[in-house]
Structures are given as structure tokens and as C-alpha cells.
Symmetry: C2
Subunit: 339 residues, 2 copies
Amino acid sequence: MVTIKDVADRSGVAISTVSKVLNGYPNVSEKTRQAVNDAIQELHYVPNAIAAALSSKTRIRIALVINSVEQSQSIDELDMRYLSGALEEAKKQGLTVRTYFYSMLDDLTADEIIGEFQSLGIGAVVFFGFNKDDNVLKEVVYRKCFKTVVVDSPIAEDGISSVWIDQKQAQFEVAEATLPQVSGDRVLYIAGKKNAYVTEGRIQGIKEFATKHKLNLKVEYADFSERKAREITFREGNDTDMIACASDLMAIGAMFALKEMDVYHPICGFDGIGLMSYAAQKMHTVKQDFSGIAAEAVREAVRLLQGEEGRNIILPHELATPVYEDVLRREEEWGKNTL
Amino acid sequence: MVTIKDVADRSGVAISTVSKVLNGYPNVSEKTRQAVNDAIQELHYVPNAIAAALSSKTRIRIALVINSVEQSQSIDELDMRYLSGALEEAKKQGLTVRTYFYSMLDDLTADEIIGEFQSLGIGAVVFFGFNKDDNVLKEVVYRKCFKTVVVDSPIAEDGISSVWIDQKQAQFEVAEATLPQVSGDRVLYIAGKKNAYVTEGRIQGIKEFATKHKLNLKVEYADFSERKAREITFREGNDTDMIACASDLMAIGAMFALKEMDVYHPICGFDGIGLMSYAAQKMHTVKQDFSGIAAEAVREAVRLLQGEEGRNIILPHELATPVYEDVLRREEEWGKNTL
DNA sequence: CTGTTAGCGCGTTCAG
DNA sequence: CTGAACGCGCTAACAG
């Protein structure tokens, strides 16, 4: 392995000088800098990131913690968007990243998790799908051993930032988009998980919608479960005129139920997952740019590491109406294979 | 930060002794070991993995390289299975892992990639979805700077292992399972990407199937593309009696095409992705345990790191017939939410 | 069985 | 502007 010393010898300068040009410090003559860079080229020198991390006290390492629910394919899509967005951005920023799934952490205590992170020299943690009632992770966050960025939770404060879209506004808009197809004044809202931050925001949105149009709103919690949404729809589907769901998957569950009941009501979803494109029915949904959100979260982590204050970041969303043709069109445009 | 020295002082022994109990070396009296462990407990000592990595020459760090095709939701599922399987196993094995997507690597030269890995002290690389004609990555592998495990490619040799299922046998079996519904002797095989290793194995399987039953086999390449499979089916669908596809997504494309053409032929897929459960038609497919495969790949990486020989590992597969009820049943059994 | 010591490769003063 | 020297926290011989 070629080390910084080799480069120093080759270019006839001291180690520290090489280090300086490596890290872009001033106080190096252009001539020396050139010589060093030449040597680096010739020797194919690559600085050892481990040694650098050990030596330097600045923490440029972050952890990604992903609340992956096993074996759910729609979730896979979200997580992959999050992951690829975050990893890509991290690479751009020159950060070293460790990826964790909840399942790798959930048999650990807060102490153990903190220890794990510290032992790896992690300076900031980004949580995706942070759960309001996960006390262990909450403790990890609030012990504040690291800077933290939380996606989809409004807990911005000292050393903690949050990144998400305007849940209330998004839910309001997608319901508005669905409204024209509706006759009647009863709207069933299939909400997600009780006590989840996103759930509350979205419920506010649907409430505002109902108030504005003087509709009768009924809210049921389905825990983001397709099956529960389906069951609720079987129960309530005949007593409503429109169904709004807090996730696409629940919307699909509701839609399949209506089909089996052989009744039709407009439905709208939330998230914009690919599965929606395979669903036969035209359905409005909120389209979130998950990789964009993740990239922003990573950038925010960098900001925090630089000592900036925690803050609340709201990113834009779009409305969409995915249909099967979208699948084909996307493939055509991108020229990508899809297995 | 509490260091190994603190522990040594606290327990009244030398640093090296602490190191020994830490790494489970012999030649430490039970009494000393106990004292050290106590001190570790009291001090909440967590060894610094970075320092350990720098000091130790044994490389316990691996890279995961994932051939993720952007924005394809069925692919997301595969990749997440691979990823979670691999990460989970890596954690069990005490390995440090770096995750890469192809997109993060494809503007780099082989030298740069090797440099990146070396700078991180990576000893073994696991490739998922290795591409036969990706010359850069091929060079990375064959320069043999690291041990390599390749999923789905038969390039086992010195320092290189491969892990996959028996493609030929699996393709044969799933065709056999589909056969009973067929009347006629024409079978259309929609293959994946030309020159992909899995493609060749599967084609052998379908050939064997055709030979055994004296069927007329026609092979078309659709590059694992749903859209291309759809187009091929539009073209050939009336001149065949059965369609076998080298992936579930292509099978879905073929199925949608047949539906639009208003003809019916049995179809079978390959992989066992969740999307299949949402497809209305009953369809046999090969079910691969992707996380299991990934876990095996990681274990194999450890073996290679320990100096063992490269080898070819064939893992078992299953046949399945996913239907929508599976989605609901899985959810019920697991009690998991699914967004 | 235990302690001493020499690095691992690099960042960082601080004299020169 | 440059270089010698120290230390990051730990592992691994080597003595004792």
C-alpha cells in the first residue's frame, strides 16, 4: 500500500506538506503543490480514510437508519429511494456512511446503539420513518451524542433538524383533486398509524378539506395496513361517497374492497408508489420525491456537523395520477431495464 | 471518549491485556478477564472500531455493490432483500459494510474504484447483479485486489466465489408446473438480457423442457424489460400456446398484452416478486430467497477473507403461485404494517 | 499469564 | 512556506 510517506519521499517534501495539499490548505507554494500532485498521480496514491478518520477529530461519518418493514414491496420502493438518494448525496459530499435497518437495532438498548455509533466515529444520524413511540431511538436522539436529522417528524431543535413535505397541504390538495368526481357529502378518511406525526398532519389536511366543502368526515385508523384498509372499506364503503387514504397501499386495499363489493367511489392515495401504476383505476395521489428528500436530509446533516442550528425543512410535493401507461412510458424514456 | 487505556488503568492491568480479553484471545486468567470486563461495564467502554481497523491488518470490511436500476419498483424489492439480508448477516459476523449502487460507481475508472475500496480498508467485495459486459467492474474483480463474491455469475476461481440458484433447473421446473394447463405444442420463451449469465442458464432450462416434451420453442430476448416483453407478446402471442418468461416483470408485461389481445395462454414468471401477488392471473413462478442468497454471499466473503478457496455455491429455490390473497395473509401472519 | 513497545497512516501543532 | 515530532486508539509481537 502506498502511503503519504511514499508520496512525500517521491516529491521530496515532508509528510505534512503532502497532507496540506491533500486537504487543500493554504501556505503551500504552487511549485510544491504541483510536485506533490504529480507524485500522487504517478504512485496512484489514495489516502487511507481510516487513518485519516482516526487522526482527525472532525467527524465526517454519518449513519442512515431506515425503518424498513420487512417484506413489504411498496415500502421497499420508498426505502430504496431514500437510500439511493442519501448514498448518492453522501458520496458527493465525501461522507462515509453506514446503513442500518431498524431490524438490526431493535434488540439493542439506547446505550448499545450509541456505543455502536460512537465506536464508528459517527457524527450525525439520519432517521427515515422515525417512530413516535420508539422510546429507545428517541433516547438515542435526545441524548444528543450526535447531530440528528429526522425525516417526517417535526422535532427540530438544538442539533436536530427535520425534513419533510407539508403533510396537511398535500392531503388537502389530493382530496381537492379527487373531489370533482364525487356526488354526495360523505368522505371516509383512512388514516395511518395513530400517533405518527405524518398521520396528524394529514388528518388536519382532510379536516380542512371537509370543512371547506361542508362534508361529513369520518376518520378511521388503518395503521398503514392494506388489509385493514380493505376491512374498513368493506364495513364503511356503502356509507360513504369518497375515500381518501393516507397511503397508496391502503388506497389499493380500499379499491380492491370496493371492487369486490361492486360499488364505485372515488379514492385517493398518498406517496406515489410504483404499484399504483399497476392498479387499474385512475386515482390521484401525492407524489413525494423520496430521493430528493433523502439528499436534502444528508445535506442538512452536513450543515449540522458544521455547527449550524437545527431547523425544520419543508420540501415541495406534487400531485399525480399514475396509470399503467406510466410504467411503459418511463421505461421508454429512460431506456432502462426493469427485470 | 473512554479508551482502552482508561479500562486498563481502571482494572489495573496493561493495555494489551485489555485488548486480549476484548478480542477473545486465550492466555488471560479468569480473574483478570473478570476485572477487565467489570471495568468495561463500569466505564461504558466501547472500542473504537476505526483505531482497531487501522491497527489490525486483518481486513474485516466488505463492500456491497448493488446493480440497482433506477426507479424500478420490482427491482427495488430484489435489492432491498439483497441489502437487508447482507447487512443483517454482516452485523452478525461483525463486519463493517459499505454499500454502493452502480450509479455511484459508473463514472469511475477501475483504478478509482479500487482506490476507493482500498482507502476504506475493504477486503472483500460482494457484487449483486454483476453484468457480464461491464468491463470496468470486471477489471476491478480480475485485478484481484480484494476477495470477491459474485451473485448470479459463474466466475468462481482463485479468490472469487459465486452464489446463485440452479437457473437451468429452476426454469425447467417452473415450465413443468405450468405445462398441465397447456394445449398445443408451441412455447414462446421471453428471455432476459443477452450475454447475462442467468439468461443462458435459464435458456438451457427451457430448451431441456421443450426437448423433453417435444415442443416447438421460440426464444426472444426482451432484456428483462416489461415493455419489450409486452411488445413481443403482441407480435407473437397468437402464434404460441404457452409463454415462459425469465422474470416476473416480463411475465406481467406479457400477461397485460395477452389481456389486451383478449387471448389466453398460460404464462410463467421467474423470481417471485411481490408485484405478482397483485396480478390478477394465477401464474407459476420461481421463488428465490434473495436475502438468504445475500446472507450466504456475505458468509462466503468471510470464508474468502479467511484464506479459503473460491467456489461455486448453488442455493435451493422454490416454486410458487402468488395471488393477491398472499399479500393479505402475509400481513396477517406477520402483523406488520405496509404503508 | 502479563506488561512493554513498536507501529498502523495520517492530521496537526510548532519551531525553523 | 516547510519539516520534525507527537498522538489518535488499538493490535501484535516480544520479553518477562
